[in-house]
């Protein structure tokens, strides 16, 4: 009980909540590790951007939300979907391109949508979804609803015009949106120092009089704290915020890219891995007596089982039927347009 009080003082969390956060980080880690293996086995195709190393950001941020709040992400979003409440089996099935996937196999790794859980994609033009999130927040305010919108993107996205246009409108119109910049230091292979005239991403919020905070993105409690304040501001006063979460991706930009090489050294990656956010949070909870190594192993077995089941589900699911090719182009039946197109 004393330990729990300490935790509560630290972050206002019950022990169950704290353990759930650890579990979700672990689940996200195991999911991505297995996705990497499935990619290597060519069960997953196309681009596959893994989240390993950044788990504290999605888990900490989304832990502050109500179930009907909205989340919009970039293309590195598998773990955001897991944490927002999507069924891991249907996420994996989407990665496999199967009919049972969240988007019926037609979105893929970069386009996960799960409307009933408030997940509005999965968008793959860098920064292009930032206006969308702003529009969802506009709708929330228009409809006088109490929801909040979280918008996740990488640090490379803050150089695109859509970011600036969005922050300006969100501030001008007082919209309930929290922009979360996951600063993992590299836009693909270009270090932030080589792409941005300003090192501190959070400073960019000043230009639009938007509240901002820089937070250690490898510390899930710190992320939760900062995003929690921003979410409260959005919900209470309909004001936007920009949170810069400084994190690190342990993998390459996508599965087809090297972990290190021309743009960063192996030594740098190894040093960063010493700050592993999952291990770090386990150590915090362990020091509080909330979990021990045995407890971690049990938790890990549970996470691995969920991931294994998701792989089994995905692998045994059918491919989309040929007729799906022309479905959902429009709200009404459509296609094929020419005689020489496939006629499913």
């Amino acid at each position: 009980m004393a330990n729990e009080q300490v935790i509560e003082r630290l972050a206002g969390l019950s022990s169950d909540q704290a353990l759930d956060i650890l579990y979700k980080m672990l689940l996200g880690r195991r999911f991505e590790e297995r996705a990497a293996e499935m990619y290597a086995m060519q069960k997953i195709g196309g681009f596959c951007h893994l989240y390993i190393g950044q788990e504290a950001v999605a888990v900490g941020a989304i832990s502050t939300l109500q179930p009907d709040d909205y989340v919009l992400c970039s293309y590195r979003e598998h773990v955001h979907a897991v944490v927002k409440g999507s069924d891991p089996q249907r996420i994996m099935a989407e990665l496999f391109g199967r009919e049972t996937g969240l988007s019926k196999g037609k979105g893929g790794s970069m386009h996960l949508f799960d409307v009933k859980n408030g997940l509005l994609g999965g968008h793959a033009i860098v920064g292009g979804h930032i206006p969308l999130a702003t529009g969802v927040a506009f709708a929330v305010k228009y409809l006088e609803r109490p929801q909040v919108v979280l918008c996740f993107f990488g640090e490379a996205a803050v150089n695109i015009g859509a970011f600036h246009e969005s922050l300006n409108m969100a501030a001008l119109w007082k919209l309930p949106v929290v922009y979360i910049c996951e600063n993992n230091r590299y836009g693909m292979g270009t270090a932030i120092e080589r792409a941005s005239a300003i090192y501190d991403v959070a400073q960019r919020a000043c230009a639009y009089d938007v509240a901002s905070e820089t937070v250690d993105g490898m510390d899930v409690l710190a992320v939760r704290d900062a995003v929690g304040r921003a979410v409260a501001l959005a919900r209470r006063e309909h004001l936007p915020s920009l949170i810069e979460a400084r994190c690190y991706r342990f993998m390459g930009h996508s599965m087809s890219d090297p972990v290190h090489g021309h743009y960063r050294t192996k030594q740098e990656v190894e040093e960063q891995k010493l700050r592993d956010p999952v291990r770090h949070f386990f150590d915090v909870l362990s020091a509080q007596g909330l979990i021990d190594q045995k407890g971690l192993e049990e938790m890990d077995a549970r996470a691995r089982k969920v991931v294994e089941d998701s792989v089994q589900f995905a692998d045994s699911s059918p491919q989309p039927p040929p007729k799906a090719l022309f479905e959902d182009v429009y709200s009404e039946p459509y296609g094929p347009y020419t005689k020489s197109e496939p006629r499913p």
């Binding site: 909205y70 996937g101 969240l102 988007s103 019926k104 196999g105 037609k106 979105g107 386009h111 949508f113 799960d114 409307v115 509005l120 994609g121 999965g122 968008h123 033009i125 292009g128 979804h129 930032i130 206006p131 969308l132 999130a133 702003t134 529009g135 969802v136 927040a137 506009f138 709708a139 929330v140 228009y142 409809l143 015009g161 859509a162 246009e165 969005s166 300006n168 409108m169 001008l172 119109w173 479905e327 959902d328 182009v329 429009y330 709200s331 009404e332 459509y334 296609g335 020419t338 005689k339």
Partner: protein, 326 residues
């Protein structure tokens, strides 16, 4: 039947649909306080307030994306482009966002949204303000493209577009805003995807849309004096295309000319020519002719601009070619 302008017909459509459905809102540059750059939104802020008639910064990509985002969760935005020329800085939101959301989400996320504003050349506005971009947007599966030639069609089509569950690019004619036509007082809709025969004829079909309908009608009138009977088919919607109406007309007349303001290369007329040669090859007595804007950036000088634009003279020449009259 009251005679009103194309501008007022659009205004009536917006007003009626906003009264009918509280989820409909209008957003764009100068739509509110200023009453619209072309006065299409005149009086709407007075009636519906700043909540539903929203002036934006000059931020086309941003506010187009806001429209798509709002549509994702059930609102029905009408986004005004001051002109479609400015949509080029918003095209990612339209093509990567609005057009693909339903498909990428496996049918979960509809985009019931209209983007509207004037397109095409006006008078000496120069290269960057005189573009007909309908071919660009018609190219994209997931988008619909509507272009009205008359006040009647403008009102009925816009109302249908606002009620449609898919993103509709509604491209108005910049020089049509002041044109007048009969518009009934009672409510009506013009469905998307249905062409309209604006003038029946027997010898040659002229396919046109937006302000080229007037050019085609003028040409048809002059040709009637030479005993050439032209049918003028107004496509009204470029996507979905009323293929049946196109083929029906060609099968009646066996000859056709497509009149298009835009550039010839990969233009909408090329699509029509392709459709007609594949589906009605045996009905054709002459190759499909196209009259288009000149394949150049629009010049400023009045005489050069006039040369670049399709006019009745060039249409008449094309008709005479397909009818083998020269």
């Amino acid at each position: 039947m009251p005679l009103i302008t194309y501008r007022d017909a659009l205004n009536q459509a917006l007003r009626e649909e906003m009264r009918r459905d509280p989820r409909v809102f209008l957003m764009g540059e100068e739509v509110g306080i200023y009453q619209g750059a072309y006065k299409v939104s005149r009086g709407l802020m007075q009636e519906f307030g700043e909540r539903r008639v929203i002036d934006t910064p000059i931020t086309e990509e941003g506010f187009t994306g806001v429209g798509v985002g709002a549509a994702m969760v059930g609102l029905r935005p009408v986004i005004e482009m001051m002109t479609w020329n400015f949509s080029l800085v918003a095209i990612d939101q339209i093509v990567s966002g609005a057009a693909k959301m339903l498909y990428m989400s496996g049918g979960q996320v509809k985009i019931p949204m209209v983007i509207r504003g004037p397109g095409g050349a006006a008078h000496q506005l120069g290269a960057q303000h005189s573009q007909s971009l309908e071919a660009w947007y018609s190219h994209v599966p997931g988008l619909k493209v509507a272009m009205a030639a008359t006040p009647y069609d403008a009102k009925g089509l816009l109302k249908s577009a606002i009620r449609d569950d898919d993103p509709v690019m509604f491209i108005e004619g910049e020089t049509l805003y002041g044109s007048k036509g009969e518009v009934p007082e009672e409510e009506y809709l013009v469905p998307l995807g249905v062409a309209d025969v604006k003038r029946p004829g027997t010898d040659v079909t002229l396919f046109a849309w937006s302000k080229m309908v007037k050019v085609a009608l003028d040409a048809a009138e002059q040709l009637a004096g030479d005993d050439v009977s032209c049918e003028v088919v107004d496509l009204r919607t470029l996507r979905p295309l009323d293929r049946q109406a196109i083929l029906d007309s060609v099968r009646r007349t066996n000859r056709c000319v497509v009149v298009e303001e835009g550039w010839p290369y990969s233009g909408v007329g090329a699509e029509l020519a392709d459709l007609i040669q594949r589906e009605a090859f045996d009905d054709l007595d002459a190759p499909v002719e196209r009259v288009t804007g000149a394949d150049v950036p629009m010049p400023y000088a009045k005489n050069l601009e006039h040369l670049a634009m399709p006019g009745p003279e060039r249409v008449i020449e094309a008709v005479r070619r397909v009818a083998y009259l020269d």
